[in-house]
Symmetry: C3
Subunit: 359 residues, 3 copies
């Protein structure tokens, strides 16, 4: 058996503070804002089945018990106690938390306290820019405050994140924009936006990204369902600057993410899609990541949001998949047991500790 | 063991009525219109091996016997009796038949009688438009007759199918065209076409598709080798209208098809590519479908055309793959047996019965 | 067990003649010109682990011994003797050698002598064009000499190779360029290039490719990480001319390469990416190739460059993957043992012998 004693969750969100009914709970099993078809339920997904497998025993029930029974037990314990039991069973010892989502979610400190773990903040760049725009009177003030805000945030944050840059033009134009372009774009965006309006200008997004690259903090890029190969230009442009890039998501193009990580010393790939979403298939997806990626370039995460069940399930599935994949290779003689154990530790925690300098 | 007592084949064609020689039989094992390389044969494919595995025993021969021996036995029994024995062994209890292919193929009623099963017609929209064009004198008459023909066909058909819309511009322009555009396109197409000419105008294809969407019947879209993610725009545009979309083919982009089905309540994915074409590998491909797709969104089909062997092989491979994949997950404790059995029934028949309202 | 008695390596390079330190050895485990991240090593890759598994026993050490120990033993034996022991253990009986790489690599004759095998030369078209350009004074002389050089090379070479044509515009314009275009492009390229300058003009690349197609020798096309489906136009344009196309690389788009090989009688797919790079995962990748590709259309290669370890590892991994994948299908009853054995021979050597007329 391959042992993974502790996990660093390099990308997740907080959990909801309120009691949940069956319907609300179900919506959190699916991609954001998706609805089930009439006559179907999102409990009938890999995520739904994984929650039913792993979580009931942690609250004193049989695995695979009906959803309604699980939720009744969850309410009986209360959201705080249920969350505590779940998170403390996950084996996660450090959470890197994206605090940029709306909704009543626990922040890093509260997640840490509940889970008996460390927690660190990931700062979402677009949100930072919106906050700066809300409080800056002129283009010049906005641009000066933006740079200052990013560098200020770098002091407290463990990493930056951009969710909009990849779909916002980074692929076509990877280089930093010229100062004149930036001023023009800032003027136009500030003029048309209302308070709280989202940053959607491609030039400003790129400008923001390049400020973040200059900060030296690892930069997480949400790839979504795009082919990460499209980021080869940005990877080349940022090589040798001392800032690491971490590609989030990218399924079903995870083999391309692994390939990019093999070609660029500063590019890393998140294993998030392996877990929580593909359930019983996670070992197969993880194995695909391990084809071309150097083993020092892959990072566990849960990507969990809202439900502590998703942190638990991600951790359990990941450990099971890792143990199965590496265990088979050891059994075949393809890998030595010592190497397999070492690689398991790298993917689970050591790579993240090195990249994010977690000490 | 996972049990799949009966199958609904949600997309197939009829079978040939004539006796076949080795060469003609071989051409039906391969993609349409492909030829084998000199020195090779299409019997040396997964489909060829699967036919040799599953079909000889149904005609009283050893599995994997040489092709020439199998064809001799087939001729000895006669095409009618061989077809009867094969189809009645398939476990398929309902066929949804695309009647839009040329050639001397059995129609739904004859396929039903031969196979001892129910059969329903899928109407190919492009063919309907061609027939309407052949009998309409003016643009106005053509457009009025077209709408009437689609709504008339909806009364008798179980679904509509478009084979040309996806490659014909639906990706770039998912919305319905304006009436003025439609009239212009109809005028130009009717002026240049000869009797029987295929519908290849992108505006008319879209117009036709949107008439079909308005009929409420499920709409099957042939995706071919395109990335189904390209259909996200059409999926968004047709959401909430009460008409289901079923994506046909899409291998090797089946993970993207599954993903689209997870994001849109009215989008379904056909499992056709799993079967009949990947043979011994079907379990692996099926498992990939099951990563992100909600289990209520996947539909078995054979996609078989011409040879009853292809219906049989598709059904046998599908049952074997389903049993293996779900059986392993049950053995691992990842799924409960009851859930696995229920999901097997959904993929094999229940989802199709719900989507096509088969009663 | 499936037996693969001998292998034809249909695409590889020579090996280095000098003793290697740990650092230089490590760089050859990774994609060309890539560097490891700080704190990581390319020994921590599938290739690194595979070298440590297969090679130490061939030099009298334990499998998975530390890299430094292996390299010490390698130096102790000397580069010649180590190379001799390694290559003669590989089971490769014929090498097809791309001689177009820079560096002090052994040529076909020396590789053959070291490995106790046959060797044949693959001629890189771009290099031929550069040599002709270096020695031709006028556009007319260049074009005449180019055609002559290709036809002359065809007499001694086993195949042609283009590494630049696919990324150089073949996808957008598959047809041969017009003579006027060719003369114009040649004039411009000759005017701007310095001696030794690389051929990067898309019109000349296509012209060169079409001369090679006319020679009748198999033409290898380096696909890199592109989707081989993009070559459908060139495949259609070259169909029926009697010249075979062999697609090199294409991972992770190998399923598309297999599909193209199924649709075009003269298109073949290289199995190179299966081996040497994906290590313990090779069986999974090989199985994906075997989904749609007719079994007469897949060709083993090592793609090895610089280190004889890479030839050995490729051969060992390929044999292991083939034995596992086909062996499981035989155990399941999906394939007969005789068929599996025959297909193993086809992939390992017989297909290559037929395509390259190796006698």
């Amino acid at each position: 058996m391959i042992d993974t004693p502790s996990l660093v969750d390099q990308y997740c969100h907080g959990v909801l503070r309120t009691e949940l009914g069956l319907g609300t709970f179900e919506t959190h099993l699916a991609p954001s804002s998706a609805l089930p078809a009439a006559g179907t339920t999102f409990f009938d997904t890999q995520t739904g089945f994984a929650v039913r497998r792993w979580c009931p025993p942690l609250l004193g029930l049989e695995p695979h018990c009906p959803p309604a029974r699980y939720l009744a037990r969850r309410r009986e314990l209360g959201v705080v106690e249920a969350g505590r039991r779940l998170l403390r069973s996950s084996g996660i010892t450090a959470y890197l938390v994206d605090t940029g989502l709306p909704g009543d979610l626990t922040g890093p400190a509260e997640l840490a306290a509940t889970g008996g773990a460390a927690a660190h903040e990931i700062v979402r760049l677009e949100l930072l820019a919106q906050q700066v725009a809300d409080t800056s009177g002129t283009v010049e003030a906005f641009l000066a405050n933006l740079a200052e805000a990013v560098h200020g945030a770098a002091a407290g944050a463990v990493a930056f994140l951009s969710v909009a840059a990849v779909r916002g033009g980074l692929v076509a134009a990877p280089e930093p924009p010229w100062p004149g372009q930036v001023r023009g774009a800032a003027g136009r965006w500030l003029a048309r936006r209302r308070a709280g309006g989202a940053l959607d200008d491609p030039v400003l997004l790129r400008h923001l990204l390049w400020i973040a690259v200059g900060s030296g903090r690892p930069l997480q890029l949400y790839v979504g369902e795009r082919d990460p190969s499209d980021l080869a230009g940005f990877a080349s442009a940022t090589g040798g600057l001392g800032t690491d890039l971490v590609l989030l998501h990218g399924y079903p193009h995870h083999r391309q993410a692994a390939r990019l990580a093999a070609h660029h010393p500063h590019v890393y790939a998140d294993l998030g899609p392996v877990v929580a979403r593909t359930g019983a298939r996670a070992a197969g997806v993880l194995a695909e990541f391990l084809e071309l990626a150097p083993f020092g370039k892959l990072l566990f995460s849960s990507g969990a949001r809202g439900l502590p069940e998703l942190h638990v399930v991600a951790a359990s599935i990941f450990r099971g998949a890792l143990s199965r994949v590496l265990g088979e290779w050891v059994a075949d003689g393809a890998w030595s047991r010592a190497d397999a154990q070492r690689v398991a530790g790298m993917l689970a925690a050591d790579n993240a500790r090195r990249v994010y300098r977690l000490g």
